[in-house]
């Protein structure tokens, strides 16, 4: 049996990176799961429907094997099949879980901004690194409430995402001053809070984020400045629970120095890692849509909110081969 055209389209768009960003990928995948259930035209048998949904899930997850939010969204929806007594019951459950996931995801940033803003005292100076929508929303909300006087933002070499953050914060009227990445410790004296986003949160509460985040956090800790990470729950990585390391991509050296420079200097190797890992002890709290968490409690989100029950963890090193068992 084939899959609905829209499902195939979404899978393809995720694969070709037409759909990008952790949030959009997750919501699109949930949308595809919902659509697959709505458009199901096989026999109205529970067993057959379950098998079909597992196959759709496999198709979606395999489009971007290293994305964190993707399997989170798909398995969240797939888990709705567990313990269903009839085909109709199962189909309804898939649709409502998918809708619930999308709604939660859309509201996540808003909730994070509200909770995050409360953590910032009146008249504070905040430092942020790179560009994170969740972090900017926290800071902007806090600014509207009179909690933020000024923001220092790093320019974030090599890609200068700091310029985007600058414009984003200015749009909300927040006073921003940019600093070079090397000036983080110099400026930390004046700073009250560090607010950053996350690419991935691991099961022990370490945060994988833009290169430089871990040294910002270290400098903050030295100065007793609180570090908050704004992260939607679908950024928590289930695979890390079974010891999987988060792979850190090294990008093109030409992002750091021009092509001609590289050609003239064959003896210099330019190393350009995209992310680094901030250990949980340098993070005061991770602000998720479910609340403000100590980073060490990351496992709670994984187990309770993402549907990765302790039982199914043992399959997670081979998700694709074990999706059936997750819904048994």
């Amino acid at each position: 049996m084939g899959y609905p055209q829209k499902v195939l389209q979404i899978a393809d768009d995720i694969k070709t990176m037409k759909i990008r960003g952790a949030g959009r990928i997750a919501r699109s995948a949930a949308e595809a799961m919902k659509h697959a259930a709505v458009e199901y035209n096989g026999n109205p048998y529970l067993g057959e429907f379950k098998e079909y949904m597992v196959n759709v899930a496999k198709l979606l997850i395999s489009t971007r094997p290293t994305a964190v939010s993707l399997p989170n969204a798909v398995i969240y929806v797939l888990r709705s099949l567990k313990g269903r007594g009839s085909f109709e019951d199962a189909r309804k459950a898939v649709i409502s879980y998918a809708e619930e996931f999308i709604k939660n995801s859309e509201e996540a940033v808003k909730k994070i901004s509200e909770m995050g803003a409360k953590r910032i005292k009146e008249g504070s100076i905040v430092l942020t690194h790179c560009h994170s929508t969740a972090a900017v929303e926290v800071i902007a909300k806090a600014y509207r409430e009179g909690r933020v006087l000024k923001v220092y933002n790093t320019e974030t070499r090599p890609f200068l995402q700091g310029r985007i953050t600058f414009a984003h914060l200015r749009k909300y009227g927040v006073p921003v001053v940019q600093i070079p990445d090397s000036a983080v410790r110099y400026i930390m004296d004046e700073v009250d809070y560090v607010v950053v986003g996350a690419d991935t949160v691991t099961s022990n509460g370490a945060v994988v984020n833009k290169i430089g985040t871990s040294q910002v956090a270290l400098a903050a800790r030295e100065s007793r400045v609180r570090v908050y990470v704004a992260a939607e729950s679908y950024k928590f990585s289930p695979l890390t629970l079974i010891g999987e390391l988060v792979k850190i991509e090294f990008r093109d050296p030409e992002e750091v120095v021009p092509h001609e420079w590289l050609e003239r200097h064959p003896g210099v190797k330019v190393l350009n890692p995209v992310f680094d890992v901030t250990p949980p002890e340098y993070i005061d709290a991770i602000i998720t849509e479910y609340g403000v968490l100590p980073p060490q409690a990351a496992i709670l989100i994984l187990v309770d909110k993402l549907g990765w029950t302790l039982d199914s963890i043992k399959y997670s090193d081979n998700i694709l081969g074990n999706l059936e068992k997750i819904i048994e």
């Binding site: 070499r157 310029r163 414009a167 290169i211 040294q215 030295e222 120095v257 190393l271």
Partner: protein, 310 residues
């Protein structure tokens, strides 16, 4: 228009300054020389207030001129120049002895002291891997990487944000200095204090290569070292056609201060010492602590009064 002093490293500035002053001294013009001397002093205080080696050189030359006039002035300047040159080589030599073949060292910016250190490591027949940060603003790290490459070392270049990522690969950190304060704190290129903090966290040794002429006498009497900041233009990416966000503002500090507890030792021409033992070193050089040395303020006030200059 005169070239900004900011383009030189601290040690290059010393040589440049002496050469410029010797050029003026050749005129034997008692109007011109003190005026130029004061001009240089003011320019350094404005552009490079933390460049202690240059300021100390001015201290010596102003003092000599007040006592002896043009008598032997050029010879005195030349002697200062060659003395500084040899103390810089010696400091680098002391530091080079702490490096073992096969080690991986991390450094930043493009200080002459570090260049000489690398040269001596090579001359001593040792092979090392060199990790260099690009060192924004200025990106002088690219020049140092280029130099290390020319010496035949394996060189790794990275952005300033990647220091903590790579610190675990590194054995030792070597940095240069603009100034050393009386409590052992070191003023260096912006980012050095962050690198030192990261090295400290990873239990890697940090060595500062700095001749004793970089010592700031004024700090003995409580003076705070001045760390200049530059304008927005310093953060721009040359060659990158960049449209800055509306209302763009930036703060670009050029140097920072590394506290003595993050520095394992300072390699000076008198040997390797703990930063906290700076007073001891000065006592052995000058015979007393605090050393009996005229303050810059005193000297230049005298010079101005004597020549009726404001």
């Amino acid at each position: 228009m005169e070239i900004s002093f900011r383009r030189y490293t601290g040690s290059e500035l010393v040589f440049e300054l002496i050469d410029q002053l010797v050029g003026v001294a050749k005129s034997n013009d008692p109007e011109l020389f003190p005026r130029k001397l004061i001009e240089k002093y003011e320019k350094i205080m404005y552009e490079r207030p933390a460049s202690m080696a240059a300021l100390n050189i001015l201290r010596y030359i102003a003092n000599y001129y007040l006592e002896h006039g043009f008598n032997g002035l050029i010879e005195y300047c030349s002697k200062l120049r060659s003395e500084y040159d040899s103390m810089l080589w010696k400091s680098a030599d002391v530091a080079s002895r702490r490096v073992n073949s096969g080690e991986r060292i991390l450094t930043n910016s493009n200080s002459l002291a570090i260049r000489r250190l690398l040269k001596l490591i090579r001359d001593h027949g040792k092979d090392v891997e060199v990790y260099v940060t690009e060192s924004k603003p200025g990106k002088e790290g690219l020049l140092l990487a280029e130099y290390a490459e020319s010496l035949g070392f394996k060189v790794y270049l990275m952005v300033d944000s990647a220091v903590r990522f790579f610190m675990k690969n590194v054995d030792k950190v070597f940095v240069g200095a603009e100034a050393i304060a009386s409590n052992g704190a070191v003023v260096s290129k912006i980012g050095t204090s962050l690198i030192s903090l990261i090295a400290h966290e990873a239990r890697k040794r940090v060595f500062t290569v700095a001749p004793s002429l970089k010592f700031s006498y004024e700090t003995i009497y409580g003076e705070l070292m001045k760390v200049p900041e530059g304008g927005v233009e310093l953060i721009l990416e040359p060659g990158r056609d960049e449209e800055l966000p509306e209302g763009f503002t930036a703060r670009i500090p050029l140097y920072d201060v590394t506290p003595s507890e993050y520095i394992d030792a300072i390699a000076t021409e008198h040997g390797l010492i703990a930063p906290q033992a700076i007073p001891l070193l000065l006592r052995s050089i000058y015979g007393a602590y605090p050393p009996v040395i005229p303050s810059l303020h005193e000297l230049f006030t005298k010079l101005r009064e004597k020549h009726g200059l404001r």
